[in-house]
């Protein structure tokens, strides 16, 4: 679900990372403050389209992002439909979708290193509270780049389970998966240490 930087050109690429982050944050915030109505959902969709329909990005990419977020959207929508009327539910799901796709716009047009630098700078004031911005930013990025590995490990364990004639039992999945994840964490810790992280 986490999209990665895709090199390109266009207004979103040229905007300095700090401003871009702030701008998208404001838009997402504004969208969240709209009342939960049909027309608000329409406005949110229009905002997404407007943000993506610029040179260098395109509506096809919006489709891809929305598709990648489909399960979150479905779960949100289904959950809300149980308790709320359709108008509320759709508007809330639209909020979530907008937030995800606009966040995707940021990661899509900004190299991770620059995003990290920005996070680091934004957290600088917290340094006085004893927080280490560099460490925090690093943790964030390692977490992001580890997600694909965790997904692949899950697939490996599942396939090994099926290959040995096991069914889809959670119990037989959880143990080996946990062991593999811990082993990976251990190895990753070593790799970080030897590359100068303390």
């Amino acid at each position: 679900m986490v999209t990665l930087y895709r090199p390109g050109d266009g207004p979103w690429y040229r905007l300095p990372t700090g401003w871009k982050t702030a701008l998208l944050l404001v838009v997402v915030l504004a969208v969240c403050l709209l009342p939960p109505t049909w027309w608000a959902a329409g406005v949110m969709a229009a905002v997404c389209v407007a943000c993506y329909a610029v040179p260098g990005i395109g509506l096809r990419e919006l489709g891809r992002q929305a598709w990648a977020a489909r399960w979150i959207v479905v779960v949100t929508l289904a959950g809300q439909l149980i308790f709320l009327d359709p108008e509320h539910a759709v508007a809330n799901a639209a909020r979530v979708t907008t937030a995800i796709t606009l966040a995707g716009l940021l990661t899509l047009t900004t190299p991770a290193t620059e995003l990290l630098d920005t996070v680091e700078r934004a957290m600088q004031p917290l340094a006085r509270l004893g927080l280490d911005p560099q460490r925090a930013a690093l943790t964030l990025s390692v977490t992001l780049s580890t997600l694909p590995v965790l997904a692949r490990l899950a697939r490996d364990v599942r396939e090994a389970q099926l290959a040995r004639g096991g069914g889809r039992s959670l119990r037989h999945f959880a143990m080996p998966y946990l062991v593999m994840v811990l082993k990976h964490a251990d190895e990753l810790g070593d790799a970080l240490a030897v590359r100068g992280v303390r």
């Binding site: 990665l4 930087y5 090199p7 190299p111 991770a112 290193t113 990025s141 390692v142 992001l144 780049s145 694909p148 590995v149 692949r152 990976h184 190895e187 990753l188 070593d190 790799a191 970080l192 240490a193 030897v194 590359r195 100068g196 303390r198």
Partner: protein
């Protein structure tokens, strides 16, 4: 120039001595470490990398004590492991290489230049902006090497760096490791042809170093010791 000096070194993991009373003086540029599974090779590599500590004895790597001079050791010694996946820490190829330069005070431009040059050397220039986790196993291992070499280390410690690779990729990785004369090399390997290409070989058996010398002699002793 000093290489690796071990004097009566014992390393204990859990409640067993995984390395016992090892004394070793290595001055050759490239050193192969061979031995059976579980004999203690990785532990030796971890000891030289500062990831395992000696319980007894003295360890000197490039004249440094890994237990006390970790920061300096990290600057001068690069380490490559066998699992390509567990060595990648950043989302894209170029960023992963740049990560190794994090602790060096470089301008953005200097950093980019160093990264670009390193990627070119390892044939990864075209993949610079690709997602690092989408690379093939061989490409990932080349990326791991690239991340190690971009810092211009004086010593590279590699623990079975070709274990997960097919023959052409293993060959490519081995060539990078052995042919660049700018650094020293300690190479743990089960690939005896690769071990033969080193200047000196070390045989580890059951936690002890039993032979040190010309690869041909050491490997002959190793093969003779294996009883079928």
């Amino acid at each position: 120039m000093s290489g690796v000096e071990l004097e009566n070194v014992t390393v204990r993991l859990g409640d067993t001595d995984v390395l016992r009373d090892v004394t070793l003086s290595l001055r050759a540029r490239t050193v192969a470490v061979v031995g059976e599974n579980g004999s203690g090779k990785s532990t030796l590599a971890r000891l030289l990398s500062g990831l395992a500590v000696a319980r007894e004895g003295t360890v000197r790597v490039l004249g440094l004590d890994p237990a006390r001079q970790v920061a300096e050791l990290r600057r001068r010694v690069a380490v490559v492991f066998s699992n390509p996946d567990a060595q990648i820490v950043m989302p894209t190829v170029a960023e992963d290489v740049a990560f190794s330069l994090r602790t060096e005070k470089l301008s953005r431009q200097e950093r980019t230049e160093r990264v670009t040059a390193a990627l070119g050397r390892f044939g990864l220039a075209d993949l610079a902006d690709r997602s690092s986790h989408d690379l093939s196993g061989g490409q990932k291992q080349l990326l791991a090497l690239c991340g190690a070499f971009v810092r211009n280390p004086d010593l590279v410690v590699a623990d079975e760096p070709t274990a997960y690779l097919d023959a052409p990729n293993a060959r490519r990785v081995a060539d990078h490791l052995l042919e660049d004369a700018a650094h020293r090399m300690v190479l743990v390997t089960h690939d005896l042809a690769l071990a033969r290409r080193c200047d000196v070989a070390v045989l580890v058996q059951d936690g002890a170093v039993t032979r040190v010398g010309a690869p041909d002699d050491v490997l002959a002793a190793y093969e003779a010791s294996i009883r079928w």
